[in-house]
C-alpha cells in the first residue's frame, strides 16, 4: 500500500549520507513506493547511497555557494510544489539544518509542522507519534488539510536498511530568488575534535550530571568511559554550566542516544534528559536521591554518592585488567 509520494530531506555528515536520512528512507519505503530524496547540494554525490537505501529519485539544488542551506532548500521545495509537485508527506530530520527547512517551508506552504515524531503510520492518512512528558505518553497527530504534511522526525526512530537498489535518478530542483531571506552565509566550518566512539553511535555511553558537584569531577566520567570504550555524555545542566561542550549533551536539545548500555551518574533524569536516552537497551543509574526520576527507567539503580561509587568502580575495573 502506498500513501503517495514521500519526500525525504537528505543530509550529509562526514562526507557520507547522514544516518537520520537512511532511517527516514527506510520508513518512507514502508509507507510509499515513490520515495524521493531532496538534497541541497550536488545530487550525483548522494544518488548511489540514497538509491541503495530506497530512494527512487533525487531532487537536488546543486551547489548553494556557501549560503546557509535552509532557506534555499525550503524555497526550492515550495517552488516545485507551486509548480505541480504533490508530495503527500515531507520527512525532515530533527537536525540543526532540518528544522530550518521545516520552519521556512511551513510558512511558504501555510501548513503546520508535526514535530518530534518517533513513528509514522498510515491510518487512513499519515499519523505521527510524538512522545511527551519524557516519553510517559504518546500523542498521535494528523494533518487536517490536503497540503503536503511536514513531519520533523527524531533521530534513531527507525532502523536504517539497505535495499540494494541502484543509483537514484537525479533531477534538478531550482532555487528561486530568496531576497533577504537567503543572505546568511557560512564563512568557515570547524570540527570539534573528539576522541573515542561518537556519542550517538557508541555501544556504551557514560553520562554525568549536576550531581558530580563541580566541573573537575567530569574526569570521573571520562575515566570510566575510556575504560569501557564508551562515549562520554552530559546532561543539559552541566552543558549550560559550561563544564563540557554542547556536543556532549544527551537529551531533547542535544543528541538522542540508544546504546546497549547507558550509565547515568549524578543525573536526576529531567524530562529533557529522559527523552534523549530512554531508548537505551539497558540503563544503569547512580544518584544519591532515591526519588530521582532516573530510577524510574533504570534497570540497575544505585542510590549512592557518585564521588564514592565511581572511583570504586573504576578501581575494580582496573584490577580486572
Amino acid at each position: 500500500m502506498s500513501v503517495g509520494t514521500i519526500w525525504v530531506l537528505a543530509e550529509v555528515a562526514e562526507g557520507g549520507v547522514a544516518s537520520i536520512t537512511h532511517e527516514m528512507l527506510a520508513k518512507a519505503r514502508q509507507l510509499s513506493d515513490d520515495v524521493v530524496a531532496v538534497f541541497g547540494g550536488d545530487g550525483a554525490s548522494i544518488a548511489e547511497e540514497v538509491g541503495a537505501h530506497g530512494a527512487g529519485s533525487v531532487l537536488a539544488t546543486g551547489d548553494l555557494g556557501g549560503a546557509l542551506p535552509g532557506p534555499s532548500i525550503a524555497g526550492a521545495m515550495a517552488a516545485a510544489i507551486a509548480g505541480g509537485a504533490a508530495p503527500k508527506a515531507i520527512m525532515v530530520g530533527t537536525t540543526y539544518g532540518g528544522r530550518d527547512v521545516a520552519g521556512r517551508l511551513s510558512v511558504k506552504l501555510d501548513a503546520p509542522v508535526i514535530t518530534n515524531i518517533v513513528d509514522l503510520a498510515d491510518e487512513g492518512g499519515l499519523v505521527g507519534t510524538e512522545p511527551i512528558f519524557g516519553g510517559a505518553s504518546n500523542v498521535k497527530t494528523k494533518f487536517t488539510s490536503d497540503k503536503p504534511g511536514i513531519f520533523l522526525i527524531r533521530p534513531k526512530s527507525f532502523e536504517a536498511e539497505a535495499t540494494g537498489g541502484g543509483a537514484a535518478a537525479v533531477s534538478a530542483l531550482d532555487v528561486p530568488d530568496l531576497g533577504a531571506t537567503g543572505t546568511a552565509v557560512v564563512t568557515n566550518s570547524f570540527v570539534e575534535a573528539s576522541e573515542g566512539p561518537k556519542l550517538d553511535e557508541a555501544a556504551v555511553v557514560v553520562s554525568g550530571g549536576r550531581g558530580l558537584g563541580e566541573s573537575d569531577k567530569f574526569e570521573l566520567i571520562e575515566g570510566l568511559a575510556a575504560k569501557l570504550g564508551a562515549a562520554p555524555g552530559a546532561s543539559r545542566a552541566i552543558v549550560d554550566a559550561g563544564w563540557v561542550p554542547y556536543s556532549y549533551q544527551v537529551g531533547q536539545t542535544g543528541k538522542v542516544v540508544k546504546p546497549d548500555v547507558y550509565i547515568a551518574a549524578g543525573i536526576s533524569g529531567a524530562t529533557q534528559h529522559l527523552v534523549g536516552m530512554k531508548g537505551s537497551k539497558t540503563i544503569i543509574a547512580i544518584n544519591k536521591d532515591a526519588e530521582a526520576p532516573i530510577f524510574g527507567v533504570a534497570d540497575l539503580g544505585i542510590v549512592g554518592d557518585v564521588h564514592k561509587v565511581l572511583p570504586q568502580l573504576l578501581e575494580a575495573l582496573n584490577a580486572r585488567g
Binding site: 562526514e14 546557509l68 535552509g70 532557506p71 540543526y96 528544522r99 530550518d100 521545516a102 520552519g103 521556512r104 511551513s106 510558512v107 501555510d110 503546520p112 509542522v113 514535530t115 518530534n116 499519523v127 512522545p131 511527551i132 510517559a136 504518546n138 500523542v139 498521535k140 497527530t141 494528523k142 494533518f143 487536517t144 488539510s145 520533523l152 531576497g179 533577504a180 531571506t181 543572505t183 546568511a184 552565509v185 564563512t187 568557515n188 570547524f190 570540527v191 570539534e192 556504551v204 543539559r236 549550560d240 536539545t253 548500555v261 529531567a270 529533557q272 544503569i284 527507567v297 534497570d299 540497575l300 539503580g301 544505585i302 542510590v303 549512592g304 568502580l313 575494580a316 575495573l317 580486572r320
Partner: protein, 280 residues
C-alpha cells in the same frame, strides 16, 4: 600594537557604536514551572497552563544576549515579545528585572489552541510593531519544544536567520554568529535586520538585582489583542491549527529495575551487571 592606533580605533569604534544603537526584540515564553509535572487537559488535549506562569529558562539566555549586544553597541533598547493567556506578565517581569526596557504582550482568548505556525504569525506581527534591528529567540521552548517558531517568524517577516547560535557579535550592520553543527560549529555572517536563535549556555544570564526587580514593576507592558495586530481570528487558535490530535496513549512503562542502596559495596553489583551484559 602602537598606543596611537589603539586609541584611534577606540574613537572610531566609539563613534560607530553611537551610530549603531541597537534595538533588539527578544521572544520570551511564559510557561508552567517545569518543576511541577505537566498534564494534558482531557477535553482539549492541550498542555494545562492554569498555574502562574514563569519565564522559560531557555529565554533567559536571549534576554541576557540582547542586553549585552545593546551594551556593546553603546546604546539601544531591548523589547520583549510574548504571547500568553490571561494577560500573564509574571515571566515578563522577570526579564524586565534583568534589564529589558519594555514588553509587548499579546493576550487574546482567540489564541487558545494555537499551533507553532499560528504562534509564529502572532509573534511576527507583534515584533513588526517594535521595528527591531535584531530578533532573538531560544532554539525551542522547554514545554512545547517544537523548535520551529524562530524560523517561521523569520520567514513570515522576510528576514534572514541564523539558528543555534553559541555566540553573537554585531558590528557594521551584520552579525557574526558561531552556529552549532553536528560536528562542531560554523562561522555564519548575516546582514541586519535578521533573526538569531540562541542555544542555552550562549551567555550566563544575570540574576535580577533588587533594584532591577523594583524598576521592573513600572516598566511599560503594551498589551495587545490579535485585532490590534490585524490578525484574523480564523488563522490562529483552534481554527487555524491545521493539525488534529487523534489519540493520547500511555507509553509502555519500562519494567521496574533493581535498586540498591549503596553501603560501600554497590560498585561490585555494577561490575557483575556489566559482566552479565558482556560489556567487560
Amino acid at each position: 600594537m602602537v598606543e596611537f592606533h589603539t586609541s584611534l580605533a577606540w574613537e572610531i569604534g566609539h563613534k560607530r557604536r553611537k551610530l549603531t544603537a541597537m534595538k533588539v526584540a527578544v521572544c520570551v515564553k511564559q510557561i508552567p514551572d517545569p518543576a511541577d509535572p505537566g498534564a494534558l487537559d482531557e477535553a482539549t488535549k492541550c498542555l494545562k497552563r492554569d498555574t502562574k506562569l514563569i519565564l522559560d529558562e531557555s529565554d533567559s539566555y536571549g534576554v541576557e544576549m540582547a542586553l549585552q549586544l545593546v551594551d556593546a553597541a553603546g546604546g539601544g533598547e531591548v523589547v520583549l515579545i510574548s504571547m500568553a493567556p490571561n494577560s500573564e506578565v509574571n515571566g515578563l517581569r522577570t526579564a524586565l528585572a534583568m534589564g529589558a526596557d519594555q514588553a509587548i504582550l499579546v493576550s487574546d482568548d482567540a489564541l487558545a489552541g494555537s499551533d507553532a505556525l499560528g504562534t509564529a504569525k502572532v509573534l511576527a506581527a507583534a515584533i513588526q510593531r517594535a521595528e527591531p534591528d535584531l530578533v532573538l529567540a531560544a532554539t525551542e521552548s522547554s514545554d512545547g519544544y517544537t523548535g520551529t517558531v524562530p524560523e517561521q517568524i523569520a520567514e513570515l517577516m522576510g528576514l534572514p536567520s541564523v539558528t543555534f547560535a553559541k555566540s553573537i557579535v554585531a558590528a557594521d550592520g551584520t552579525v557574526n554568529v558561531q552556529r552549532q553543527t553536528e560536528a562542531g560549529y560554523d562561522d555564519v555572517t548575516c546582514p541586519l535586520p535578521c533573526l538569531v536563535s540562541v542555544t542555552a549556555g550562549v551567555v550566563e544570564p544575570r540574576y535580577p538585582s533588587f533594584k532591577g526587580i523594583m524598576a521592573a514593576k513600572s516598566k511599560p507592558v503594551d498589551e495587545v489583542t490579535i485585532a490590534d495586530l490585524g490578525i484574523d481570528a480564523g488563522s490562529v487558535g483552534w481554527a487555524g491549527a491545521g493539525q488534529e490530535i487523534v489519540a493520547v496513549e500511555e507509553a509502555p512503562a519500562r519494567e521496574a529495575g533493581e535498586i540498591i542502596e549503596d553501603e560501600g559495596e554497590a560498585y561490585q553489583r555494577i561490575v557483575s551487571f556489566l559482566d552479565e551484559l558482556k560489556v567487560i
